[in-house]
Symmetry: C2
Subunit: 526 residues, 2 copies
């Protein structure tokens, strides 16, 4: 397996640095064979300079060529075959099926963005015609279209080595809009990243993209990431990870001489509200579904259900009992990295001190190093309200059941929740109608409302909102998933009295791209 | 004339503070008769608490009611009659025609936002249908719609006492989306603001809006504005003003425990590039047009043309000579306030030391206090490149001509410009085609490109982009003018597997609002 462990700066590999690191195999608890050198500031500066130089030629080329580039990346990733899935499982401890699924998602995203830019509607063309006869002042002709903002820095996620890393949603959405990308690879899966980088390099050269459209830097310390976010040539940042990491990058970006937008998709406890009729009908079905959702991928998902609010009832006891039993049938799995595992064990110890444990995944004998043991806790509403620690995300297979006497006791807990990616309601339509205020209150804290489902499983489509009030994300007005993720890297530009034939095609009178356009206030395709 | 000089907190007037101030009449150089008391922190807290309490009922009411509220505000502003225009001219030194024009614009904006929400397309509904048969995992039903983000703080602008202040674009766009508003009135035109506040209060009560949908605070120091931006109940900020003021509020908002979006429309020098064929054809026409644009409103516009880049030629001498002559025909006018006037005189003295003065407006004898004397300067490209002071905005009737030997000398000057609201090109279509790189470089620095026109005059329409790369504004992805200004205060929310009849109307299967919706990737109205 040929893994190139150097930084990719435009079309050249480079390893000027001296500090090295390797990734870790959580299954056999040993370092992987590949050694990476931390990027230097000089390598970073070369990468951003090439990205800036590539910006004009890249954004100016035809949409067909950009789409071909995205599809070539997808093809090259698939061509990596088992080398990729083997490296992925080696660096994460996740099963092969997950690697294949995530590869499929990554490829699907690249293809979806290619299709979206070919469709052209993302340009959001708006036209207001001139009116020379208007009094007291004639009206000018104005036409507006979306333009890419410039080179984007992308930080790979620890928990999605493919779909939210090197060629993941942030990179694909930025490249689609016409923005070059400089990736800071996640140090926990640098080798997976290296293979994907090789795929992108080949795709870029085969489709004759300008050098600098993509670069990739390695580092296992914070310095190079901080420098990247502060580089004046970088115009936006995509990040998926922890609240502390995302907030630190966000603050750096806002304290630049020229602040830039940062879209950081950070933590979430994804509250679930169990309304009375949910348990009347199928307490055991929901118990089984949630045992699976809490433990899925060793709980290492940003949509992991970490908080389950319930109303006291005899059926609730059945639900908790069944959830506990179903959870115990589940074999715990490896966590991504010793540092993540250690953090999880520390969090569990904190919960042990604050809440009653009512469920755990099965235990092996002898104990296996690196396994994340699932745990379900229970508290009453007062204890929950009094302990801010219990409101915070635990990254791992852990969930907390909060038992309230009634909806009146539940409501203020929901109102005081931090911002969340998702909020789920289990119940009947009657429950929804009878609890209008509760639903509105939950909606105000989340990006996505789910009825009778589990929050894990983030569908990639235009109607997906993945992003919520802070700290779920740094800008709730945008999404990290689905074609609307491109809006993060776009800005509108108006043309006033511009000659028709020199306008971008989407704005020309005869509508050569066949787009829906907002013309004088009416959305039409003509 | 009944001007209520107290803070409006929901439906009650309040004046707990002790520190007072009055506004200033620049024409007779004296204080106006009305005395305002600075708001206290306790008054501010009452205003934001009422705004939060009003948020749910206000955003949940029918669009027809919100639209009726906006139209009632417009009607009440018009009903203020000459009281309003007289107070406006008294506090600004601007002529009555300008007051009437700006009132018309303010009313037009309120009506345009009312129409836009009735139209409903701003909700941007997106639907992706379920597919129970998809393998390996069935697809869920997802539907996305825009929701208001919560109470917004609006800071009135010094130079637009009506159109970008109390009931101006920021307030109208926020109220339209369903966000309550707390205004921090600009202390230079508090009395104008007080009249408009009275109009909004009457409109809110007449249309039975929830108390707290609008409040207005007075202060002539920075403290109350800082507190407002840091108040946890405030979810977004609209600001029009100086780079220093906007940047300070932006930094405060980003350093909150929960950062919030700030849209600050700040400074701009609005570069104009004069290409050769512009002067071959009509040097005198452009000279006359620019003499007017530079001096319009005593140069106190964010789109005032402060930089004019030209290429050396015999025709250029004619242009500069004619511009100078035309400029001298113009009678200078009052500036808004002694502090603005003093800053302008200081800026002029700095330019006197760095550049050659080639034009000035006519002078009166005896000198009149408070008048802003127009000035046009000239430098060569090297001097311009070497003096960052010459790149910065001067708020007043001042413009700088930068003479370049050729386009090659001009290009790097454009590339290194700060972000701008507008960039203008004077020339022929041939000029545009022959200077593709120059046009692309200018476009990359601005929000609006103008061909053969002047930057002053900001049309209120959907295709207007008013906002540009920092420091023109704090987020170039949004506009402050036109119906798209609502996007600043909206966030998407997804509904997963939600019962059809309980979805927002815009997302229901039978499309009761008759909207264009993106359904399974296709934009249709069905």
């Amino acid at each position: 397996m040929n893994i190139i462990t150097q930084n990719l700066i435009g079309y050249s590999y480079s390893a000027e640095g001296t500090k090295t690191f390797s990734t870790f195999n959580p299954v056999d608890q040993s370092a992987t064979p590949w050694v990476f050198k931390n990027a230097t500031l000089s390598e970073l500066k070369k990468a951003t300079a090439l990205a800036e130089r590539a910006f004009f030629p890249y954004k100016s080329m035809s949409v067909a060529r950009r789409a071909a580039f995205l599809r070539a990346i997808a093809k090259e990733i698939l061509s990596l075959g088992e080398d990729l899935t083997r490296t992925y499982t080696m660096e994460t401890g996740l099963p092969k099926g997950r690697a294949e699924g995530e590869r499929g998602r990554t490829i699907g995203q690249l293809e979806a963005f290619a299709t979206a830019i070919e469709n052209g509607q993302y340009l959001q063309p708006i036209i207001d015609h001139a009116d020379a006869n208007r009094t007291p002042i004639p009206k000018v002709d104005l036409r507006k279209i979306n333009e890419p903002i410039g080179p984007i820095a992308v930080f790979g996620a620890s928990n999605f080595p493919l779909a939210y890393s090197t060629a993941g949603g942030d990179t694909a959405s930025a490249l689609a809009t016409g923005c070059p990308v400089v990736v800071k690879a996640h140090p926990m899966h640098a080798s997976t990243n290296a293979l994907v980088t090789q795929a992108i390099l080949k795709a870029a050269q085969d489709t004759k993209m300008p050098e600098g459209v993509f670069s990739c830097l390695y580092s296992n310390d914070y310095e190079i990431g901080s420098q990247l976010v502060q580089d004046p040539l970088i115009k936006g940042v995509g990040f998926t990870g922890s609240i502390s990491g995302g907030t630190a990058l966000f603050k750096l970006a806002q304290s630049r001489e020229v602040p830039i937008p940062v879209f950081a998709e950070m933590g979430s406890v994804n509250p679930v509200v169990v309304l009375p009729e949910a348990l009347n009908k199928n307490p055991t079905d929901w118990a089984n579904a949630y045992a699976g959702s809490i433990s899925l991928g060793s709980g290492q998902f940003c949509t992991n259900p970490g908080l389950i609010f319930c109303i006291q009832s005899p059926e609730l006891d059945v639900f908790i009992h069944t959830l506990s039993e179903a959870f115990h049938q589940i074999a715990p799995t490896f966590m991504l990295h010793p540092s993540i595992h250690a953090a999880y064990e520390k969090d569990q110890a904190e919960f042990d001190a604050l809440a009653k444990k009512v469920g755990s995944t099965s235990t092996q004998s002898p104990a296996i190093e690196g396994i994340g043991h699932g745990a379900i806790y229970q508290v009453d509403a007062k204890t929950f309200a009094a302990n801010p620690r219990l409101h915070q995300e635990v990254f791992g297979p852990l969930s907390l059941i909060v038992v309230c006497k009634d909806v009146a006791e539940l409501l203020p807990l929901i109102a005081r929740l931090d911002g969340q990616l998702t909020g789920t309601i289990l119940g009947s339509e009657n429950d929804l109608q009878a609890n209008e205020t509760l639903v509105a209150t939950l909606q105000n804290r989340v990006g996505r409302l789910i009825f009778n489902g589990v929050p894990t499983g983030v569908e990639v489509c235009a109607a997906m909102q993945h992003g919520g009030p802070f700290p779920a994300s740094t800008d709730e007005r945008f999404t990290a998933v689905g074609v609307k993720a491109m809006d993060r890297w776009l800005r509108p530009v108006s043309y006033q009295n511009w000659p028709d034939k020199l306008l971008p095609k989407a704005l020309q009178n005869n509508n050569p791209l066949g787009l829906h356009r907002l013309i004088n206030g009416t959305l039409i395709k003509d």
